[in-house]
Subunit: 84 residues, 2 copies
């Protein structure tokens, strides 16, 4: 994972814009996340062709956040069941 | 959850912009997701004051997507362990 500092630099393209992501995550993980965001933005654009890229990104974030919160709730409920 | 059609309309404010979210989710869930995105954008803005709102939204989406993919992997690994 990166050199020396333990940090990697990964360049990804999201909706035609390049972003350099610096962090301790592996480049493969960063690329997977970027691909998810890119895919969501294009999916939303397909349904709402009039939206600008800023709003598309916000809606993509909402979409992914929706999934995250549901998964967290699911995990929480599973834990509660296990504890019984 | 909504009336008649089973769909609810929820108006949320993210980074100063209003969005009307139509869907089968409860308004409380929609507000929770919106609050997550809004919070992430402000957090990233705090560290990168020069970024425009579109890029902030993309970075927020990446941040949330990172958490989602990690949680999915964790869930997947737990399931594999349970299956042993």
């Amino acid at each position: 994972m990166g050199e020396g500092t333990g940090k990697s630099r990964t360049i990804v393209t999201i909706y035609g814009q390049q972003y350099t992501i610096v962090g301790k995550e592996s480049p493969d993980h960063v690329k997977e996340v970027a691909s998810l965001v890119n895919h969501k933005m294009k999916e939303i654009k397909g349904k709402n062709p009039y939206l600008d890229s800023g709003k598309l990104a916000v809606l993509a974030a909402l979409n992914i956040g929706d999934e995250l919160i549901k998964l967290k709730e699911e995990k929480h409920n599973t834990k509660e069941k296990d504890g019984e």
